[in-house]
Point group: C2
Chain length 233, copies 2
Amino acid sequence: MSAVKRARASRPPLTEPVEDYLKAIYEIERTGAAASTNDIAQRLSIAPASVTGMVRRLAGQGLLAYERYRGVRLTDNGRQAALRTIRRHRVIEAYLTHALGYEWDRVHAEAERLEHAASDELVDRMAAAIGDPDADPHGAPIPRADGTIDETSSDTLADLPLGARARIARVSDENGELLRYLDELGMRPGVRVRVDEVAPFDGPITLVVGRARRTVGAELARRVFVTPDPRTD
Amino acid sequence: MSAVKRARASRPPLTEPVEDYLKAIYEIERTGAAASTNDIAQRLSIAPASVTGMVRRLAGQGLLAYERYRGVRLTDNGRQAALRTIRRHRVIEAYLTHALGYEWDRVHAEAERLEHAASDELVDRMAAAIGDPDADPHGAPIPRADGTIDETSSDTLADLPLGARARIARVSDENGELLRYLDELGMRPGVRVRVDEVAPFDGPITLVVGRARRTVGAELARRVFVTPDPRTD
DNA sequence: TCAATAAGTTAGGCGACGCTAAATTGCAAA
DNA sequence: TTTGCAATTTAGCGTCGCCTAACTTATTGA
């Protein structure tokens, strides 16, 4: 078996918890520096003390670079493993909505379990069946089968100045209620918005979404990622 | 939440190994009496000593009736749990072949993992998407969402007398090579056969399959289940 | 009837992951 | 520079599933 083939075929048997750790660390690293013990614990809903032991083991396996009291970083191996899991997760989310009629607020939980059980072949077939999309239903980019991904660190609604136009690129998944609410407001990835009013002191933001005006809290605004509107107007 | 809804919705959180035990015991019971420690161990490829402990735990949870040195039987609860897992397995197998282009010799391994991760809702959607089939690609009946199943204990090819006509109802899955071979011979569920020659002493059996004559060993013949041919001729 | 053997169970362990409680470390503010 | 707190780690433990080795039971056939 060629090295290339092996790299793709034999997902070395990482356990489910390990895949979850790597995913969590990847996400944390994406928004800043090294992942701290506490960050990881919080994201996985486990005790910080439990993280220390696991993190040491993963470092021993070459998946993480770990310095006591200093937090953790993914090695290249670790990042590749994380991206494989993330690809599975996002392809599954996309497949569930496009092929099986799931609403976008229900796919996360299902994908969270299936991502550990689905083979790369299955995931590739699912992706092909829905036209190899490059983002999941929440706008998150889908890593390619070769392990590459287009991560674009983008601003959130909360970062936009008054009057700015932007397009919603991506919203935080994980919270079904948030997603249902955003859906009601017509705020889905791809939709254009304009900032119409910004209350001071981290106050609510009023947007023009399509023909409607929508006022959302700063908390929510921070969970909606945008890209500059390509429209010159 | 109504009791009915709960029975279906909250698959109480059985672990993966537990689901595997219940499935194995169900299959063993189907072909005889109580499931012995050894039978279970063999089917799960684990040591008999390991089975004893687990079986005691499951009996404690009311899923099994267990008597030391006497083997094990599923309780009604245990049987329902087993059938839920089996439904998931078989629906997934059918879905993979009908919706995602899998060959029938590849679906077992994939379903073996997914059956523990897929929700009942997903499985119901998959089933609906392919027209709610009542058998998996190997001819095994799919338990309904309400927990009922049409088990028909059938003869195997090896039981047929010379000259008998029959229809292939079901073949043993699990062994991909066997399935590929059967496929080459044109021996899939639904196909009609006639017994043309039976060698004595558990010897090979020669069949007419379509226009071809096929000779198969007794071992293989015992893994192919048949029903009497409805044709009067 | 009883001894040989096969089947099953008990005893004792191990690894993966989680927890709580009790140190320890690092940093920031006084 | 010191102190005090938050973050982290260590210590000690529990559960789930699995293992091997040693013992016990059931059965069978001589």
